[in-house]
Symmetry: C3
Amino acid sequence: MNPLEALDYAGVAVFAATGALAASRKQLDMIGFVFLAAVTGIGGGTFRDIVLGATPVFWVNNPTYLIVCVIVAVLVYFTAHLVESRYRLLLWLDAAGLSAYAVMGAAKGLALSGSPIVAIVTGMMTATLGGILRDLLSGEPSVLMRPEIYVSAALVGAGGFVVASLLGAPLIVASAVGVVAAFAVRGGAIRYSWAFTPYRSRAGRPPEDVI
Amino acid sequence: MNPLEALDYAGVAVFAATGALAASRKQLDMIGFVFLAAVTGIGGGTFRDIVLGATPVFWVNNPTYLIVCVIVAVLVYFTAHLVESRYRLLLWLDAAGLSAYAVMGAAKGLALSGSPIVAIVTGMMTATLGGILRDLLSGEPSVLMRPEIYVSAALVGAGGFVVASLLGAPLIVASAVGVVAAFAVRGGAIRYSWAFTPYRSRAGRPPEDVI
Amino acid sequence: MNPLEALDYAGVAVFAATGALAASRKQLDMIGFVFLAAVTGIGGGTFRDIVLGATPVFWVNNPTYLIVCVIVAVLVYFTAHLVESRYRLLLWLDAAGLSAYAVMGAAKGLALSGSPIVAIVTGMMTATLGGILRDLLSGEPSVLMRPEIYVSAALVGAGGFVVASLLGAPLIVASAVGVVAAFAVRGGAIRYSWAFTPYRSRAGRPPEDVI
């Protein structure tokens, strides 16, 4: 198993766990846990493969990824009540998955397109799509709309990997640079509420008042 | 027309009808009916084909599916007021579409990938995605989040088809097994409020209280 | 640059601007502006290419589209406070993007499938998907659910292009017919609240009252 494959399994597993935690917060049944775990776990990578034209997508070629999602969902089903704050655990696992997938998405994008900017975008989209789908389907407020840094951490991870690769770093070093950079930024954002200066101007009025 | 093709048209037509019924509940205009009918009717199969790499997708190769959606939407537009409870009709048609698409998705997944587990997953996703899109776009509460059994019925249908196929049943028998199994489970869930024991522990707190 | 390519860049740029305006209404940070601008700008065309099997999708082959989104997002970040009503500007830019993309989507669908009905559907989906994604991700009420004409304008634009093409009009004339028709319909809908007779019957009751 090369470092990218290990990252891929790790990303699927921790994103699957966040999906199962969201199912637990909504008190779904076990099949609901498995479904949300699978959608969250494989969502980002599925989109990455589709956009890059690498179809059939990764889990059709290798169903082990699906089995990982099922196992993780069952484990979470029987242990989630032990966790003091499921949402905080969800955020930290999401941070780990985002870091793994930012690098994995960038690596596959770079390999298939050769373009650094495409690699950064596929890295960002792969890293954030699983969480977006999870929040949409489970009715949680989207992580995207929270004030702390989120998409930027994926940008830093994908960018770190791409820059290190272009500078000639071996795959395992470039991957480590990207993962550590993304996790440091997102972890700091969770722990210390890091945020960029938000847009200063007024919030939008409701559409009805405007038209 | 082989049994799978018949199932495919049936699945598109009944899902299209649920989309048009959702449009009627939101009092959209006729083009809104057609749009929601088309998205719901072809959504699941579109995703199935994309993931399996069977592009261009089925309705690009055979636009008859689109014409079916338009006809269904117009019929619903002129008849929906005759129905006593549109939401209950929507749920039953959704159950029929889910049953047809669970088998159809599993059959295409099995044929293209050869893997039973991939077939079950493509069956489940094909069966549930149309309804998820319909609810997301029309702002209905998602069928996924309801307590009665939903995804599990798709699992039973896809699984029944795959097991029967692996045991050597002819296509029409395996299809019938899957459709009947899925419809029995989902129909029972609607009629008798069947549900698995939900996850017992506490519901999630709002994110603001946790971070 | 042929007329379709110009339309494509124009569509990406104005949709990206609507995404950035939505980000400004939600007071996101600059990376949030870029993210929503990119998703809205390239969302429709990405879906069109995936469905038609034209993968890798357009922005993987030509990352200039991504750079356009970034530039537009930064420009909006620094100028949005100058606009009296960001939502009204968003609606008008959305109308321009919808017109450009209805034609662009229909043209690519016609070229790749040869079927007028497929071309009209890919035109409508390309034209509306960016706005649907923007509203879903930013939590705005969906443009689809508003009473004024929206999807129909995309239908008119895509249909105008297809009919003009089938009648033998040169590409630039057919494109102009489609764009002007779509913009006239959608612009009139915004300005004069044009709407079809909506579905007359009663609105849907909440699911809880029905089951």
